[in-house]
Structures are given as C-alpha cells and as structure tokens.
C-alpha cells in the first residue's frame, strides 16, 4: 500500500463540551470523551505544523464546536495556515454573526447540521426538548448567509417511521440538494441506551426499504457512508457477489479492508491526543505540539499495524467460519468492532450480513435498488 508522505486531512474534537446530551451520542462515554479543552494557543501552534506538512483540510467536531467562545480565533488559525475546514454541529448555537464570519473566511467547505426528524417530537426524542427548533433555526441562518450546509439524519427507533417526512422537509420544503444518513451505532452513550435507541432487526429492514424507496423517489439525493442505506446497498452487492453475479473489487474483498481512512488522515481528541480516527480514540499515537505529526504518520507502529489490517483474511476468524459471504465481505469499521468485541482486528458484528439474516432480518426487495 502506498502511503501519502503527510496526512491530507485532520479530524479534530475541538471541544469536549456540548449543550446537548443526545441519547445516542457516540462521543460521550467513549474514549473520545476526554476532559479539559485545549487553550486556543495550542491549536494555533498545531495548525502551524499542519501548514508545514501541507495538510489541506480540518474537520472540527466535538462535543459541539460552536460552544467554544474562541472559535473564531481558532478558525483564524486554520485560515492563516492555508487550510479549509468543515464543522460538524448540532446547529443549535449558530447565530447571524457566526454565519457571517464563516462566509467571510472563504474557507468553509460546509457546516453539517444534524436534523433527525420532520417534527420536534421525532428529533427531540433523542436530542432533548427544544433542540429541533433551534437546530432548524441554525440551519436556516447558515443558508440565509450563504454558508454551504450539509444535513445528517441519524436514524433510530423514534424516527424510523418519520423518514418520508424528513425527506420532504429537507429536500422539498427547505430545498437542500441532498442529505446524508447513518444510524445510531453501538458506541458511547448509545450503548447505554441501546434498547431505546438502536434499531431492532425488523426496524433495520424497514429503514433500509424506506431509504431505498426515498433515494429513488428523490433521484439519489439521499446518501450514506454507513447506516441502513449504505448497508442495503452493500449487502445486496455481497448477495450478488455470493451468487457469482457481481465482481466486487474496491475495496478488496475477503480481508479486513472495510476501513481505509487512516490512509488519508488522522484525528485529534479534545485533550490533544492524536488518534487514527475519532472512532478509534482509545489508540493513542502521541500528543500535538509534543510529538512530530509527520513522524507519527509515517512511523507509529500502532498505525502501521492498522494499515496492515487489510492483509488479514476473514477466513482466519472463527466468527466468519462457514459464512457464504466470506469472499464478498470487508469486515467493516474497526471502531465498531472494537466497541463490540474488544478487538480492532476483527470484523464488526454490527455490520455482519450473516448475523443480520440469522436474527431474522431480510434484505429489501431487489427492485428498490
């Protein structure tokens, strides 16, 4: 595998604070839940290093990035150091002044706002009373000022039957060009509230069917990297590959190839600890402004072990023994695998098609694809 000389992008938990406590938050009660926000001076110094390494993109998440009183100063550092940025937000703290500032930087790729329902009841069920109207206000403020926006819908037990409404709200009423979806994963607070939050096998099937139908209805304006929509497509690919009807090449199948992101970037926790990804926050690679990021990127053994993960065949796991999909599977996200099995180098049981089917799940009708 060819490795870029330096990382291209860095995901930063710019704060560990948040004004909400969503029941499915993957951040709180995970290894990423690192107390003690760094002072702005530390971030500014770190951005100078990113500039020297020709990093071009920073994603700020948290916690809630807009809770930082000094966010403008932090963004100023990103701009001075020749980078662009995006912000992942719950949308509730965004005002006109901030939206105006974001536009003025000319460097904001987008602000992603989480909207989980078409009405307060379905959104607030997991995010807390009053958060829907505030998030919608934040989203509309950004749009009014011309900030590029993205919307992420996290699917859970309370909004799985509101997806038609969500699509209408976002694509027809507001007029977004598209929106993204995922589902509440088995991490952080979500694990604690799993009964209340996580889709049952039956609901997962319903979500897959609904999202495929809506993606068709709205001409592909609904997308997904993870969650039911991505699973419906990925699992159908695997089903067809199993029958010899489809050749799946990228990523390579039959090995732990489901995660390639640390080939392009790294992550930093709110306490300044460098990690391979926000979903692998327990793997500590060093600390910003103490360890040389370029050296960590190239030489850190834990990172190189992760990069070699793709050489591990799925047939080496007893979990996959006798599985008809073994030559079509990638093992999916190691972060999820770690939370569920305690092993990074293991297929993720959450994304396991055989397990899903064994538990009574069914793939949506092929014609919906």
């Amino acid at each position: 595998m060819r490795l870029m000389r330096t990382p291209k992008k860095i995901d930063i938990d710019i704060t560990n604070r948040c004004n909400l406590r969503c029941r499915y938050c993957y951040h709180y009660e995970s290894a990423g839940d690192a107390d003690g926000d760094l002072p702005v001076s530390e971030w500014l110094r770190f951005f100078e290093e990113l500039n020297r390494l020709a990093v071009t993109e920073v994603t700020m998440a948290g916690g809630e990035p807009f809770i930082r009183e000094d966010l403008k100063e932090i963004i100023g550092g990103i701009v001075r150091n020749r980078m662009r940025f995006q912000i992942l937000s719950n949308g509730t703290l965004i005002d006109d002044d901030m939206a105006d500032f974001l536009v003025s930087t000319r460097r904001c790729n987008y602000v992603q706002v989480s909207i989980d329902g078409s009405i307060p009841m379905t959104h607030d069920a997991m995010r807390g009373k009053g958060s829907f109207s505030k998030a919608m206000r934040g989203l509309m403020t950004l749009r009014r000022h011309g900030v590029h926006t993205a919307v992420r819908v996290t699917i859970h037990r309370k909004n799985v039957h509101d997806l038609d409404g969500v699509a209408k709200l976002l694509l027809e009423d507001i007029g977004l060009s598209s929106f993204g979806t995922n589902s509440a994963g088995a991490m952080g607070l979500c694990r604690k509230n799993a009964e209340m939050v996580q889709l049952t096998t039956e609901e997962r099937t319903i979500a897959m069917e609904t999202l495929l139908r809506l993606a068709k209805k709205y001409n592909g304006r609904i997308n997904a990297m993870a969650g039911p929509l991505a699973e419906a497509r990925g699992w159908w690919d695997m089903e067809e590959a199993r029958n010899g009807g489809k050749q799946l090449t990228s990523p390579k199948r039959g090995f732990l190839t489901g995660c390639g992101c640390y080939r392009a970037g790294l992550a930093v926790r709110a306490d300044g600890v460098i990690t391979p990804c926000t979903m692998l926050s327990h793997i500590e690679l060093g600390r910003i402004n103490r360890d040389d990021l370029g050296v960590v990127w190239r030489d850190h053994e834990a990172l190189n072990i992760l990069r070699r993960r793709q050489e591990i065949p799925l047939t080496s796991f007893s979990f996959c023994e006798g599985c008809p999909y073994v030559n079509a599977c990638t093992g999916n996200c190691p972060g999820l695998s770690y939370t569920l099995t305690g092993e990074v180098n293991h297929p993720s049981p959450d994304a396991c098609l055989r397990k899903f089917l064994d538990e009574g799940g069914r793939l949506p009708d092929r014609t919906l694809l």
């Binding site: 060819r2 870029m4 330096t6 020709a54 020749r82």
Partner: protein, 97 residues
C-alpha cells in the same frame, strides 16, 4: 532595466503526496492542480530569486535527456501558472541602462 522574477503565490500549498508528483492546492477556492516531477522542480524555484532563464538552465542541469523545447515548455508552464493566479512576479530593480 527592471528584471521580473516569477514568484509562487505564498497562499498556494504544494502537497507532495507520492513519488515526485504533487498537487498545488488553492485554499481560497479549494481547487487542486496536479504537477508532474518537472512541474514540482520548477515550482520550487519560483522563489523570486530566479528568472525564467535561470529556471530553464537549472532544469537542463538536473535532467539527463532534456528535450530541445524544454525551455519553451517551462516558459509556457510558468505563464499558465500566472494566468491561474498561482504565480506573480517580483520586480527586481536592475541597473539603469
């Protein structure tokens, strides 16, 4: 006569990713341009201290089999960078003729 030396726009990021190839990244627009190894070599000499002739002769010194029209290509390349706003010129005051 004043001499004009090409100088890379300091805002533009040179990202050397694999081998000798690179990307020029303009953070204000998000646009990225691919550079081949010769382009990277030239870019690194766009420091305001070299004029186009210097750059061409350095290029000829470094490479073994430089085609005859390499100078012309280098000039065109620098001109196209200028057109895209990636390169400007530093005016060096010369001796009065």
């Amino acid at each position: 006569m004043d001499v004009k030396n090409p100088i890379a726009n300091p805002l533009i990021v040179l990202r050397e990713e694999f081998d000798d190839w690179a990307i020029l990244f303009d953070p204000d627009t998000g646009n990225a341009f691919g550079l081949n190894p010769t382009g990277v070599f030239i870019w690194k000499l766009l420091d305001g201290k070299h004029n186009t002739d210097d750059i061409v002769s350095r290029l000829c010194e470094e490479a073994d089999d430089v085609p005859e029209d390499a100078g012309e290509h280098a000039r065109q390349f620098i001109a196209s960078l200028e057109q895209q706003g990636l390169v400007g010129y530093e005016v060096i005051a010369g001796n009065p003729a």
